[in-house]
Subunit: 116 residues, 2 copies
Amino acid sequence: MNAAATLDIATLTALAEPNRLRIVELLRDGPRAVGDVAERLAMRQPQASKHLKVLAEAGLVSVRPHAQSRVYQLESGPFRNLETWLDTFSTVWDARLDALEHYLGTIREPKESGDA
Amino acid sequence: MNAAATLDIATLTALAEPNRLRIVELLRDGPRAVGDVAERLAMRQPQASKHLKVLAEAGLVSVRPHAQSRVYQLESGPFRNLETWLDTFSTVWDARLDALEHYLGTIREPKESGDA
DNA sequence: CGCGACTATTCGTATAGGCGTATATTCGTG
DNA sequence: CACGAATATACGCCTATACGAATAGTCGCG
């Protein structure tokens, strides 16, 4: 039911690559064609294409053909989803100290009472 | 200066691993010892230790010794930082269509005035 | 239609990193 | 101080994947 809290790992694996992260940050300033991305980030065209493909498969970017060029732009979905996932941690920071104390208290107890 | 907008890639690489992501989501419910993590996530103790080490080096978790056990808990810093980074994209979605139109218009131009 | 510009794909190579097994280390206890 | 429990580290193996070079595909244009 809470599908909103289920983060797609592909979003993170796509972002967790330096060059791809740079691409995303470049695209933040606006859409770009493949060659444009390659030139600005000083990488070769095939690498740009491959990384953009990975980003596209993760849904982070979309493509729009324009003559021979292909213009890539960011898609909000995965970013919003990631933000939603991050929000599930917001409540943790408040209860953090309390939870630690509590856990240290129960660490002696065997493992009983299956929680969730 | 604006270090807040500079996302540490280590945060993403640490999270972009299924088992580590599961660890983080488990720790969201509260701190856990290594063996506890290993048992709940059905992984072996060394793997749990290694993954927790990576998470710790990325600053996502902190350790607190308790007898022979070591209790790991989430640290808010990287999560907040990631959230701040995500916020830099919020303004993009609004200007998205506009930016695409604009880029398609300038795609013919060689390279207009090197930006920042 | 053939050519040039732009992009995607394929192939081989190198390396990062995850896993399992074994072992070292540390701490509390009697 | 010896022992057991809990954790960390070391080693070898194996897969995923990023890179470079070469090539194939696609589109507009004359």
